[in-house]
Symmetry: D3
Subunit: 244 residues, 6 copies
Amino acid sequence: MRILVVNPNTTASMTEAIARTARQYASAGTEIVPLTPLFGADGIDCNFESLLSAVAVMDRVATYDQPYDAVVMAGFGEHGREGLQEITDVPVIDIAESSAHVALMLGRSYSVVTTLDRSVGSIEDRLLTAGLSARCASVRSTGMSTMELDRDPAAALEAIVGQARQAVETDRAEVVCLGCGGMAGLDDAITEAVGVPVVDPVAAGIRMAEAVVGLRLTTSKVRTYAAPEAKSVVGWPLSKYLAL
Amino acid sequence: MRILVVNPNTTASMTEAIARTARQYASAGTEIVPLTPLFGADGIDCNFESLLSAVAVMDRVATYDQPYDAVVMAGFGEHGREGLQEITDVPVIDIAESSAHVALMLGRSYSVVTTLDRSVGSIEDRLLTAGLSARCASVRSTGMSTMELDRDPAAALEAIVGQARQAVETDRAEVVCLGCGGMAGLDDAITEAVGVPVVDPVAAGIRMAEAVVGLRLTTSKVRTYAAPEAKSVVGWPLSKYLAL
Amino acid sequence: MRILVVNPNTTASMTEAIARTARQYASAGTEIVPLTPLFGADGIDCNFESLLSAVAVMDRVATYDQPYDAVVMAGFGEHGREGLQEITDVPVIDIAESSAHVALMLGRSYSVVTTLDRSVGSIEDRLLTAGLSARCASVRSTGMSTMELDRDPAAALEAIVGQARQAVETDRAEVVCLGCGGMAGLDDAITEAVGVPVVDPVAAGIRMAEAVVGLRLTTSKVRTYAAPEAKSVVGWPLSKYLAL
Amino acid sequence: MRILVVNPNTTASMTEAIARTARQYASAGTEIVPLTPLFGADGIDCNFESLLSAVAVMDRVATYDQPYDAVVMAGFGEHGREGLQEITDVPVIDIAESSAHVALMLGRSYSVVTTLDRSVGSIEDRLLTAGLSARCASVRSTGMSTMELDRDPAAALEAIVGQARQAVETDRAEVVCLGCGGMAGLDDAITEAVGVPVVDPVAAGIRMAEAVVGLRLTTSKVRTYAAPEAKSVVGWPLSKYLAL
Amino acid sequence: MRILVVNPNTTASMTEAIARTARQYASAGTEIVPLTPLFGADGIDCNFESLLSAVAVMDRVATYDQPYDAVVMAGFGEHGREGLQEITDVPVIDIAESSAHVALMLGRSYSVVTTLDRSVGSIEDRLLTAGLSARCASVRSTGMSTMELDRDPAAALEAIVGQARQAVETDRAEVVCLGCGGMAGLDDAITEAVGVPVVDPVAAGIRMAEAVVGLRLTTSKVRTYAAPEAKSVVGWPLSKYLAL
Amino acid sequence: MRILVVNPNTTASMTEAIARTARQYASAGTEIVPLTPLFGADGIDCNFESLLSAVAVMDRVATYDQPYDAVVMAGFGEHGREGLQEITDVPVIDIAESSAHVALMLGRSYSVVTTLDRSVGSIEDRLLTAGLSARCASVRSTGMSTMELDRDPAAALEAIVGQARQAVETDRAEVVCLGCGGMAGLDDAITEAVGVPVVDPVAAGIRMAEAVVGLRLTTSKVRTYAAPEAKSVVGWPLSKYLAL
């Protein structure tokens, strides 16, 4: 089984980190193919960057020319899953949704702990339109950007643990989802501190992709996610026309 | 007052039709500036095309170099309003949301009649995330694409009237919103046939933009729609790098 | 365009204050006609007074004998919009609903700051039945009545700013709606203190009325808001039978 | 125990019919005191008439000078319960809400069958604001007004049975509530025809009033339904000033 | 009228306490028949114990061989009401649901104060599936088990009052429901301390049962709660096969 | 990895059929251990039987004395998952919920096609309390019991296809979940007939169990699903006391 794992931003080192987590949780026999978009922001923190990444991710997958069995979109709360489902025939798995699926199997309610305050709304919207928000106790933010998390892991851990604790005690979450690919590897420490299962989103995405592929099922093409009709699209795929 | 009215697709004749409706309903003293994106599909019928148009619309507004007081996004149910709100300081008005605002002031519930069946979900999601779906009785489709509507106006009118009648009689809608910019000019005939107010989305968008500008208010920048932070964005604005 | 602006209470000085705000935000060419009910309470703070005002407002409009193009009901969270829609053919605009419409165009969520704690429920119900509560972050009260607000503007401002700040920081509102006609003129100071757009309800009501009239649309008469059937109504209009 | 049962309309014969049903279901020792408002419509079919009746019912109870233990408001889907709760200290029971309470104890979901199509919205709103709509399968109308039901009982029965059957078979209701006081006495025939429990609203209201009084509980005065503050109310109680 | 009141746990002294409350609020002429299950836990604090009690309660009622008119299930938030409705023809009344019905007639919203934190979810689920959660402001816990409440009534009262006060002040509840049969007799003291109506669940259950029986209505058998079809059931009724 | 797959009914041949499907979809290295309860009904079609099976399944797992890594509960819409989560430390996976998780990854909305009409409510409740109902388009029934499905596979296929088609065309489902273990093996034929992905619930349950175990996560014990406290439980485990 070959799974494309697409980083939404243009930072290659993050793509590698995502790939490491993906490989750590993949079953034997699953090949992880990490991809980085060819344009867009080096980190995704707002709707402008997220919409741009949605197109860049579609562009990257559309121009990938090897066979694959599933795509995992490794952005938490980003746009674009619906579009990618239309232009490929294999299952497309969003890691924020995957985290929610896993969390709902482990506890009565879950919270997400993400980076910046301004991203809370996008994550809530992703869960809402995916039909997964009824048992979401809260989406909380540490106020630290992904880059800040990277720079100061000890402070990051403390901030995430603080929000996770409030999620469990105040919001009554029973499971915590890490709301950013850059939080990989912190799950054990957070579980130890807070006492609840902690879901790593990339790991969840990989396991959900494997599950769906193993069921020999793929995206429904009956209506919303049918392939686009043939029509004139100026400049597509964008990377073919870009002089970067 | 100068209002940018942005067509989401790349068909110039549709931009002109949108501009005509916009000017018909604008107040004296309002200048309408129609814009067409520089890349993307010539008609928007799916998520892939819609996400691409979201970026193309942001690109078109970002590279527009004259002053303006508001932007009306003239796509019905498309992505991108949240991103455009971040990269401009003036009010950004979505015509699907505007139609719902107007409809809610006219009747107890409303329906949308749109083009293709596959677009129903996108429109429902736009209304859901805008907090406007509670009194949406239904989103119905004629099964005719925008281009088919253009080619055969008589058949279009009949199809829209048929769906509007079912919306009123079966779904209990009291107002009907036309769910496509290409349906402009049909509202009177539909009202006559069905007996309920019919909202033209471009007209609604223009009037809502004028209302908000007149209140001397603009997008809240306190959290979700704050300006993007300075960071490295490869290839932006895309039109500067595209060799079309 | 002639717009009736009806104060729900019987205090003439409040009618005048409402008229001043209305005229400040009205477009050139819009004539504001302020009306005061002939019976009822001098301030509306509970359901008993609100229901009485609903009938008094209907009575006042029903006995007004000049032409007009729209009615703005200048009570925040009061009963009666549905009834008035039945007995007049022009658009009837509620200022609480108008505030929500405007707020939803400016931010991802909004809060209302009103006067007494006991009014919170009525406002929530008005927004709920209008289909506008999904993105209402909270309805908060200062605990000061309208008359107290009038008597001590400095204390009023402080109390409103305090609640607005909590709405933004705790409830995550991105826009604040002033939930009382008597708060007119405070919006700029609150925006300055809290950093979010502040919606004046009377101003919002006037602009929404102008928008709807400009669309040449009016209340749907197909079902809920059809004119009452002819029947025997003892004592109507009440003001004709009252010996005050 | 003395229970006031207030007809919302001014037709004395309907007050008597309501009183008969009330007495039929009241416990031994319960005295039924039927009241008719002093002004308003002879039948309630729209919001204008309903709001007027809300005030007329409050006026009638406010001017009733004998002791009583509870008030049953015998209009189905009318306004005013919240106001009456403020101006009296005893429990105030709405028959539409009572029907829903009873229905929820008998089956997984319920439907209401009412008179005119235009009343459906008011009933839905009453159930929504009462927090009782989650298991309401539908509100259906026969299209016959109360007076038509009275004039042709056989046709009325047939129409109600037809709607009740659709409620059970199509909407999956397991209990049917008669949505009009004028449908009294039809419950057994409808149960026989459709095979589900049928709730008479006046009977339900009386039994709920007895239950609450027996618990020695009454309306919470802590916030929403506290007594109105003393203030100047022009023309109240209206019946004292009306020269009819 | 004979009402079975079934304690969900196997502690006979609790059955007696429940019977005392039931008799205190029952009408003259109502006979209370208390029943204790023959197997299961001596107190119900989790889903395992609750599901076991659901079967034990069904077993106890199924093997009760005298006539009766209604069953009151005296567990707060336990499983089993739906099953018992299938195997008996008389009304089956759950005390948690009864409390909510009564509370909704007394105030705009209500809270439940229960024992252990872990029971909050079960109570929320019971109210959710009963369609009664829309106006539930909160379910709060004292952190004290039923047995602890019994052992230290003064501490229990203090803990319940503390949670009830937060329910009223923070969650904006206007009525408080005692979420445990073991809290009987505390209602007056809590009302005095907090100033809102307090609903005793067993009392509410008895009055609701009397109300429904007086309406000559019983469980709908049209679909969900029809009698089980004849089939092979190994070991039923369990108490006949148990060698305890 | 050893996964217990528990049939909720006492029919051994159904346990075997479930095991066959489980093994067909399990990964290499996963051992399937099928279990049959020791008491209860030979088929589950109502709440009485479902609650009895919940206890019988808990009893069967509690008395199973070999190691295992997860439990899959192979009943569709049955009670008991919450209880079993409390008495075991490994993940407990419900097949109805698993089906919904998988369906949500494949299309914008899904429907369930189950056996008897009376089971629709139980399935809706299971999805509702699991937080998975927002994108459930409908739960439909064929009207055929499991045994009837077994006896006449051709009629069963036709009935399921008929309901699946209505789910897709009328209810706008994009994925169909088979709502009964006894429908195993029909998925390909239904997909071919209706053109949407069809989810086999046992297969989905196995794949979800493998995914969760592979994440090295298990049920949150922080609150709702903590182990029961030590207390006196008469007759547990039941099978030890039953003389069958």
